[in-house]
């Protein structure tokens, strides 16, 4: 395990996904001629851009989508990749950052609700491994759940990374040189803290309070068909 940087060294780090592999979460939500295609997967940045169109074509063929989808898919992927890349040159402050990751997703018939803490600073972390273990431990049979979980984690990490870039920029602009202060401000604003006990404002023990146990316990629910349909229709209505 890589030794974590001490709290005192709050040197900004180049932007990247805080995981062992620099995989970008890509979310697709394309609508063409009344057909909606939603998807989510991870993309390896080191792959050449030519792969994008190949992948788009492949997906479109496999799913027998109309041709217009291929270009749209490719475009969407490209924009997300460029967005990610635009962040890449910049710096982000990490400090000591424990972030809460929330899982609240429905994959086919499986509903998952969970919350846990993730060390943002650990650049060796592997959401895929976590997802695999998660599914194994909870006996989830649907093979599509694992990647969905990994994706959700990644997405949230991505968001947090973007936020930390923004805060790093702010702190640089403020430019008072009192770095320690600003990082503590930034970390407070994103909800993490330098100190676990401080985070949970529990002065007496590091063990979690009883009332919070439920929140942090994973909940897996298998839905029936009707419930799935109901949920789907609700989801459709929401963003529209």
């Amino acid at each position: 395990m890589k030794p974590l940087p001490s709290t005192s060294s709050k040197t900004p780090v180049k932007f990247r996904m805080p995981t062992s592999e620099n995989l970008v979460p890509i979310r697709l939500d394309i609508e063409v001629d009344g057909q909606r295609f939603k998807d989510a997967f991870t993309w390896n940045l080191s792959d050449p851009d030519s792969e994008v169109s190949v992948f788009a074509k492949r997906t479109q063929k496999d799913l027998k989508l109309p041709l217009a989808f291929a270009t749209q898919i490719a475009q969407s992927i490209q924009t997300q990749l460029t967005e990610f890349r635009s962040y890449q040159g910049q710096e982000m402050l990490t400090g000591e950052k424990i972030v809460p990751i929330k899982l609240d997703l429905r994959v086919n018939h499986t509903l998952i609700k969970d919350q846990f803490l993730w060390d943002f600073n650990n650049f060796d972390s592997d959401p895929e491994e976590f997802a695999k273990t998660f599914c194994n431990d909870l006996g989830i049979e649907d093979p599509e759940v694992g990647p969905a979980v990994a994706f959700a984690i990644r997405e949230q990490l991505y968001e947090i990374a973007i936020q930390s870039v923004a805060t790093a920029r702010e702190s640089r602009n403020a430019k008072k040189g009192r770095r320690g202060e600003y990082s503590s401000i930034s970390s407070r604003s994103t909800g993490a803290a330098l100190d676990l006990m401080k985070l949970f404002s529990n002065r007496y023990s590091v063990v979690r309070k009883r009332k919070e146990w439920d929140v942090y316990e994973p909940m897996v629910d298998i839905l029936s068909n009707e419930e799935v349909n109901a949920l789907e229709s609700m989801e459709e209505r929401k963003p529209r």
Binding site: Q35, K61, D62, P143, E144, G146
Partner: protein, 493 residues
């Protein structure tokens, strides 16, 4: 990273794929062993270990999974060199996400998924939805497995129901309005009847159609060109099937016989052949002749072997090895060979005649081999050429003999006396060849010594010349001196 040898199950040297049984409850072999994370059970393990708690469905209905024989190296328990070679990015540890463990995870999951339902094709998108890894790695492994026939290789694959429709109720993807996708529900066309239905546009194929054995699909020319086939296929999987002639009139046995007779008699003169057959144009004759299913009548041998088998048959019919028409006949089965270059070469050699073709080949070979040599050997080549022609006729005999003997040995047409004859003749031919080679060597040596002599002579000449030159110079100088002296003498005197 050892790769285990597949079990010796059904290994005829045929083009049929090797069959690897999925774990039945009695025989569990390593390479076909449970793709689940079950401890590998070798064939020596006691069959008393009943169907180990495999997540694989019903070990009692052991389905056979076909994989092609060129993928024999594959084993679930390890990574073979072939994989390392084809997918190097996983093994050179330059990127943290691409490592052997990840590769094995992806590969095993894909194969497991496919084998859960081996009769239907698995698409890349299905697979990538279930794998926690980046999509490009998944795609590479998928393509690799597909190319090597480790997935989606089922000759009797029926069309699978549209995943699109299935997913309608499950995921948030909405079904396409026109569910009946193009190549999804292609019923395998009846091959016996002469009607070919295109799998995708459902039109009757008229001129030419493209059939793929790989997934039992037929496409009309238009669909083929448009690329309207499934993910796992590429354009090379299709072979062209000409229809127009056959559709219009089928060749009866009698006509075929007549055709063969005519070709034997008249060889290349297709006009006469057409006349002989009666009622068929030249072009028809030629096309039908090329398409004659020479090999399929004979049991399971490869295309090439069957072509050579026809050769043998023809030989028996003709009973004269050097009848040029017979030879021309014999070479044309090669036109059926899948390799277009071979077909081309066969066609050209058939046109040109065996002797000339052999001589040309010989000359080409010798020219290529002699490219590095000096010019002293140039005249050897010309000498050689004459010899070459002689050799050619003998080598052609020999090669034919070789082929026919090979074929005889392959046991397709077992005829013992013929075999013995052929072997003897083979021996004599080999001896003759050896003699030729020896003579050539001797001649080379002679020429070598000649060249050396000449070289020495040249050296001597050069020395002599040099000596002469020196003498001349001396003379010149002495003359000049005497001249000068004489001049001085007259002046003073």
């Amino acid at each position: 990273m050892a790769s285990l040898e597949p079990p010796a199950v059904v290994t005829p040297p045929s083009s049929k794929p090797n069959l690897l049984p999925l774990p039945s409850h009695t025989i569990i072999t390593p390479s076909a062993a449970a793709l689940a994370a079950v401890a590998p059970t070798t064939s020596s393990s006691s069959p008393a270990t009943p169907s180990v708690a495999t997540p694989l469905p019903t070990p009692s209905d052991s389905e056979l999974v076909h994989i092609p024989s060129y993928s024999r190296w594959f084993s679930v328990d390890g990574i073979s060199e072939c994989e390392i070679r084809c997918l190097p990015e996983f093994f050179h540890s330059r990127s943290p996400s691409r490592n052997p463990k990840a590769y094995k995870y992806i590969r095993d999951s894909i194969i497991k998924q496919f084998r859960r339902n081996p009769s239907s094709k698995i698409t890349f998108t299905e697979v990538r939805k279930t794998l926690a890894a980046d999509v490009i790695s998944i795609r590479r492994v998928f393509d690799f497995l597909d190319a090597w026939g480790l997935i989606n290789y089922s000759p009797a694959a029926l069309s699978k129901p549209l995943k699109w429709e299935e997913k309608d109720s499950k995921t948030s993807q909405h079904a396409a309005d026109s569910p009946a996708g193009p190549s999804s529900d292609s019923t395998p066309p009846a091959r016996e009847t002469t009607k070919w239905l295109c799998g995708s546009c459902k039109s009757v194929c008229s001129i030419a159609c493209f059939a793929s054995d790989k997934c039992d699909l037929t496409l009309c020319a238009r669909c083929f060109v448009r690329g309207n086939y499934r993910v796992g296929l590429s354009s090379s999987d299709f072979r062209r099937v000409e229809i127009s002639d056959e559709m219009k009139t089928d060749w009866t046995e009698k006509e075929t016989l007549q055709l063969l007779e005519a070709v034997m008699h008249y060889g290349d003169d297709w006009k006469k052949v057409a006349q002989h057959v009666g009622g068929r144009s030249e072009k028809d004759c030629i096309t039908h002749f090329i398409k004659l299913p020479m090999g399929e009548k004979l049991a399971g041998s490869s295309e090439f072997g069957s072509g050579m088998n026809k050769l043998n048959q023809m030989k028996d019919d003709n009973s004269s090895n050097s009848s040029s028409s017979g030879k021309r006949l014999c070479l044309s089965p090669l036109a059926d060979a899948s390799n277009p270059i071979m077909a081309q070469a066969a066609f050209l050699s058939a046109l040109a005649g065996t002797a000339v073709a052999e001589a040309a080949a010989q000359a080409a070979v010798t020219a290529v081999s002699k490219v590095g040599h000096g010019e002293a050997k140039a005249h050897i080549r010309s000498v050689h050429g004459v010899q070459g022609l002689q050799d050619a006729s003998i080598t052609s005999n020999g090669s034919d003999m070789l082929k026919s003997s090979e074929d005889a040995r392959s046991g397709v047409n077992p005829m013992p006396e013929e075999k013995v004859n052929v072997e003897e003749e083979l021996r004599t031919v080999a001896e003759v060849q050896m003699k030729h080679i020896q003579e050539k060597i001797i001649r080379f040596e002679e020429i070598d010594s000649q060249v050396e002599k000449e070289w020495k002579q040249m050296e001597q000449m050069r020395d002599i010349l040099f000596y002469d030159q020196l003498n001349l110079l001396k003379h010149e100088r002495s003359i000049r001196k005497t001249g000068q002296q004489a001049a001085e003498g007259t002046r003073t005197g």
